[in-house]
């Protein structure tokens, strides 16, 4: 029968490889016309031809969740179970990006942890565009490295629950993997050297840096841009994206790194996403720590204000230790800033935040004190409101 797995195939994760795709989705694929027409009697060679014809990736779409041809081909690969060499060839090939993604997806489903990291991480350097079909039926733009990132960090992609793999730092401590080396590392080292040279000229630059802070960029980036105008365009792009990815997350801009170093280190170790972050941070700590010490007197206040607006978690710790100072120094002005900054239900711990929110809401005191109603007298409703807040919905009326 056409839907049976190849009898010579090994079982994956203790079960028929086709069972990696769950029952409902599997039935949908078997009933799909693309599967019935094109995927009948495919072998590894003919599968490559079909894969080259792919032009989008995705899971299921539409009201009755129709699977994409990409899904059907993944299923076919699970059914015939090609050799590892073939899959690696799929990944290594440079010409057809959808063949690459197909191979990467299959390896993520069936490969061992070490293999997954070893073969998928080089694909981070591929920044080509991909077309992705969304569940609503529309197409969206994504990139190869974004998809790989999703495969390595999330546990659900293209409507298939990805098997659990060990976190990277676990494998590093076990010694099976080496710490991650990014391709951009050489560039970072050069940039560091330049920064060190710049710090000697320090003072003149501070005027510059002030502007940088206000614009919300890291000083390194500004300096990069000035100095590297004639560098490869595409490397700039990688920079920007890498910087965005790194700096936009909770890590922060390295301003009071020396203070939060211990805390950050522990936190970062626990997080799986910061695979390469340890490296960057170790290096950054040396540089930024030094720089900041000098600037501290000068720009301490302004930086705090800015950091509070931008970084959530960092200011969280800072507000606790420094709330008195800030109140004395800045009084009403800083309160105003706080009211303008975005708040989230999670940030109820800081005394500042509650103070500013309750002031405008004092008129509505007859209703719940907190915005999302999680302190409603009826415990059931309070519970429901807490769930709703975690999902991002407004409280019950």
């Amino acid at each position: 029968m056409a839907n049976r797995t190849d009898p010579a195939a090994k079982s994956i994760r203790g079960t028929n490889p086709q069972n990696l795709v769950e029952k409902i989705l599997r039935s949908k694929i078997y009933q799909n016309t693309y599967w019935k027409e094109q995927c009948f009697g495919l072998t590894a060679e003919t599968l490559v031809d079909k894969a080259m014809e792919l032009d989008h990736l995705g899971g299921t779409h539409g009201g009755n969740r129709k699977p994409t041809p990409f899904m059907c081909l993944v299923m076919k690969m699970l059914q015939i179970q090609p050799e590892k060499e073939i899959v690696i060839e799929f990944i290594k090939n440079d010409d057809y990006k959808y063949v690459r993604i197909l191979g990467a997806f299959y390896l993520r489903l069936t490969g061992t942890d070490v293999d997954v990291y070893r073969y998928l991480e080089p694909l981070y350097n591929d920044y080509r565009k991909l077309r992705q079909k969304l569940p609503e039926g529309k197409f969206s733009l994504t990139h190869v490295d974004e998809v790989i990132d999703e495969l390595l960090t999330k546990d659900y992609s293209c409507d298939i629950a990805l098997p659990r793999i060990k976190k990277r730092w676990t494998l590093e401590t076990l010694g099976s993997l080496e710490p991650r080396r990014s391709v951009l590392e050489d560039d970072f080292e050069e940039e560091e050297e330049k920064e060190e040279n710049d710090q000697l000229d320090g003072l003149e630059e501070e005027a510059h840096e002030k502007q940088d802070y206000y614009r919300g960029r890291s000083p390194a980036r500004e300096r990069d841009r000035d100095r590297r105008r004639d560098r490869d365009r595409y490397r700039e792009r990688d920079y920007d994206r890498d910087y965005d990815r790194d700096y936009d997350r909770e890590r922060g801009r390295g301003r009071d790194r020396d203070r939060d170093r211990e805390r950050d280190r522990d936190r970062d170790r626990d997080r799986d996403r910061d695979r390469d972050r340890d490296r960057y941070r170790l290096r950054d700590e040396k540089d930024y720590g030094r720089d900041r010490e000098r600037d501290r007197e000068w720009e301490g206040r302004e930086r705090e204000r800015r950091d509070r607006d931008r970084g959530r978690r960092r200011s969280h710790s800072r507000s606790r230790s420094r709330s008195k100072d800030r109140k004395d120094r800045e009084g009403g002005e800083h309160r105003k800033r706080h009211a303008r900054s975005s708040t989230s239900p999670r940030r109820r711990d800081g005394a500042e935040e509650n103070g500013t929110r309750e002031e405008p809401k004092k008129k509505k005191e007859r209703k719940e004190k907190k915005e999302d109603g999680t302190d409603h007298p009826d415990p059931e409703i309070a519970e429901a409101n807490r769930l709703r807040a975690s999902l991002g919905l407004k409280p019950l009326k």
């Binding site: 409902i24 299921t60 009201g63 969740r65 569940p135 659900y156 409507d159 059931e380 409703i381 429901a384 769930l387 709703r388 999902l391 919905l393 407004k394 019950l396 009326k397």
Partner: protein, 73 residues
């Protein structure tokens, strides 16, 4: 605030409290939180009408205590 009952006829019967102006997509998220399935795997129907994600409960005239059918994608 209304309470809607969702039944999948296979043993899962779920009562969910929600607002009338919540969309079906929000309702699916609440159901997913209670049942443990993913919200995009859930399909809410009434006889053969599959309810769409972007329309509110009020527009579908779903009232308090009404029963809906829970299916999976």
């Amino acid at each position: 605030m209304i309470e809607v009952v969702l039944n999948d006829r296979l043993g899962k019967k779920v009562r969910v409290k929600c607002n009338e102006d919540d969309t079906i997509g929000d309702l699916k998220k609440l159901v997913a939180a209670q049942t443990g399935t993913r919200s995009d795997k859930i399909r809410i129907q009434k006889w053969y009408n599959v309810y769409k994600d972007h329309i509110t409960l009020k527009d579908y005239e779903i009232h308090d205590g009404m029963g809906l059918e829970l299916y999976y994608n």
